[in-house]
């Protein structure tokens, strides 16, 4: 049964990982959008026609905490074009035509990064273009910034007194049990824990966190990680990834601190608990020590032909990745991200960006369209909601534009995990209603203030 009597959330079948990560060779043409995660787009620092090497900075992060953007192949910047994102926005994107040489810029290596000041380390993370993965995509530097100095929100009434970051939790398995990129990465780490060790220590140094937690799936076998934790007195937590969304940030935060964080406005990291994917931690280590920027991304390709984990350069057309995974036949639907939370996109002609943790493919006969019948009031959604909301009620409030009622019913606490829609017998698009409600409320509030 996918609904448990004893815990909230839903039980999903877990993918067995082969522990292998396949490298996809650099493609001849990459497209790199200037927008990376939320926030304003990065500011261009090169010109069209410039020759670039791998790792060369193309754009500076907007404001002082946005991540930089780097060239992922060597070649020539040929154009700036419009790129249509699946969420409906259109963003400027740089096009690089490759020269096939794959030459890297000479990194400015620093073998003793830990003696640098926290500000310097944070700047290196920002320059390295590190993105916080898992959850709302944001520059890691920005996330740390927000975590250490929480800001009041448009709707918030609570205090905005800075809470020091007390816990850092490193997640070694994907939130969505269909995906296995992080598990595969953990398997490849093996005993080579130097990067992991460094990354954790850098983050602890920047934030001053008191306790580090390693969050693993209870099926994962990782002697190297266990050993590292033991040596440094880190806490190892094993959760059941099959019980979705137990590995999502709020649930992990609860598991590490024993206290439920406020999920309103997705600001789990402003509760003094930083939950990060292991991938992010490794990228941090590379960014501060080797000064190697983020130019590639780990990605799960999950489809009718099985699941595989790949590493590909940013900007690689998704079609290339899909064919490298051997899944190019009979595609009816493609989702950027896991099946529970990903966004569907209408074309494979889209580049790999830092925001895409996975590609989920459905064969033509697997595609089901939303029914969106009226709510029958069965209450299953209220039974599974990990946030203990009544999504059926909330979705009706949003459907009939009762925004105030929706806000009273804690609409903003919703983490959009999709459990409610997963179990809904009427096929209602619950998450859609919630998102619409949040957007509506925020925009009216903004126009009022």
């Amino acid at each position: 049964m996918d609904i448990s009597f004893f815990s909230r959330g839903i039980k999903l079948s877990r993918q067995v990982t082969s522990g292998k990560i396949e490298q996809i060779p650099p493609s001849e043409r990459v497209v790199l959008p200037l927008q990376q995660g939320s926030g304003p787009p990065a500011e261009l620092s090169i010109e069209i026609g410039d020759a670039v090497e791998v790792g060369q900075t193309l754009a500076r992060g907007a404001s002082n905490s946005g991540a930089d953007l780097h060239a992922s192949i060597s070649g020539e910047v040929t154009a700036i074009e419009d790129l249509h994102f699946p969420n409906g926005t259109t963003v400027k994107a740089l096009v690089i035509e490759g020269d096939g040489k794959d030459t890297w810029i000479e990194p400015d290596r620093d073998d003793k990064p830990l003696i640098a000041s926290p500000d310097e380390l944070l700047e290196r993370i920002r320059c390295g273009g590190v993105i916080r993965e898992g959850g709302e995509t944001k520059s890691l530097a920005q996330v740390i910034d927000e975590a250490m100095s929480p800001r009041g929100h448009l709707f918030s009434t609570g205090s905005t007194v800075a809470k020091p970051v007390r816990h850092i939790a490193v997640r070694f398995a994907d939130q969505d049990p269909h995906l296995n990129a992080l598990a595969a990465l953990t398997a490849t780490i093996g005993d080579e824990t130097a990067d992991l060790d460094l990354g954790v220590k850098v983050l602890a140094a920047i934030t001053g966190a008191e306790q580090i937690h390693f969050v693993l799936d209870n099926k994962q076998n990782s002697p190297g990680v266990d050993k590292l934790a033991e040596e440094n007195d880190y806490v190892v937590l094993r959760l059941d990834a099959a019980n979705y969304p137990d590995l999502s940030s709020p649930m992990v935060a609860r598991a590490v601190s024993g206290k439920e964080p406020d999920t309103a406005f997705k600001r789990v990291h402003e509760n003094g608990i930083l939950v990060l994917d292991v991938d992010t931690v490794l990228q941090t280590a590379l960014a501060v020590r080797d000064r190697r920027p983020v130019v590639d991304r780990l990605i799960t390709v999950y489809g009718p032909a099985g699941a595989g984990v790949f590493k590909a350069r940013l900007g690689t057309p998704l079609a290339d990745i899909v064919s490298a995974a051997g899944q190019e036949k009979n595609i009816g639907k493609m989702v950027l991200g896991g099946p529970m939370k990903g966004l569907a996109h209408h074309t494979l002609d889209f580049p790999l960006t830092k925001e895409i943790p996975a590609i989920t493919l459905f064969a033509q006969n697997q595609v089901t369209l939303a029914v969106n019948d009226p709510c029958v009031g069965c209450g299953l959604c209220a039974m599974v909601c990990p946030i203990r909301l009544t999504p059926g009620m909330l979705s009706r409030y949003c459907e009939f534009s009762s925004w105030d009622l929706a806000q009273e019913a804690h609409l903003f606490s919703c983490i959009e995990c999709g459990c409610c829609a997963y179990v809904c017998p009427a096929g209602r698009s619950m998450v859609q209603f919630m998102v619409q409600g949040k957007t509506e409320l925020l925009s009216t509030r903004r126009s009022e203030s």
Binding site: E328, P339, M340, P374, G377, G379
Partner: protein, 326 residues
Amino acid sequence: MTNQRLVVSISPHIKNGRTVRRMIVTTIAALMPATLWGFYQFGLDAVALVAVGITAACGTEALISRLAGKTSSLGDGHAVLTGLVLALLVPAGAPFWLVIVGAAMAILVGKMPFGPLGGAPIYPALVGLLIVATSWPNEIKSYVQPTTAPIELKAQGAADAEFPRDAVLIDPSDEAEYKTADLFLGKQVGPIGVISPLLLLLGGLFLILRRVSRWQAPFGFLIGMGLAAGIGHALDPSGCASASFHLFTGSAMFGAFFLCTDWSSTPVTPWGMFLFGLIGGGLAVLLRIAGLPYGAVPWAIVIMSLATPIFDRITPTPFGKVASHA
């Protein structure tokens, strides 16, 4: 391949395949053991009544969908369930027209005016039942002697004063003549589908295990009935039968597992469901003691249904919120 247009839809992109239709079919299946027991006890009359009830409900729904120019919603099986539940709550000796009018009213007054499935504030079958029960108080009491009931049914009509309550023989003075085990195993007089607490309990547990219904409302109802009857019996043994007698007679089990777990007319929050059941159970016992003409349990549940929006306000404190804030 790059120009291929793919399907775009919203997350989550997988569903557990649960549909309204399947959940209703499961409910009907869970009712089958008790229904078959009723058929065995009351014979072909019962079969005919159930068939008539289902036909009338489906016919009315089809007719109204047609008149209203809507696509027929017969496919989800809810009309079948409504007709079935209505027929099961009626004694086997009831005239056909009673069931036909009841089923038609259930759909006409109880379901269709409230739009699509999920809008009805009161369980439609109960609307139909209570309309016919208040309109024809004598016909609704046409109880029939079941095949295996251990003592003979008193002459019908003459014993009308003895039949005033939800179950036949709720009169405490009759209690001694029955063994509790007999009652539990379904050897008692009553409407077609409600006489076997054992089979209804099994059906109800099946629904709960299949996650079609929640445990809170049914068990709250049973606890409420048990507590109210227990206290009543302790205070006045001649005025109130024992808890086991109340729980195992009449539509107590049926109400708990199949009426308290309706979707639209009952709350969805955990404490809301439990309190709904608890108060409803207590109310049912009170109505039985007060000597309601017919159907203490259905009436209690209908009254509680009207308070459902209030119970729905008893929401759990959301994740990460301070309890006093909610």
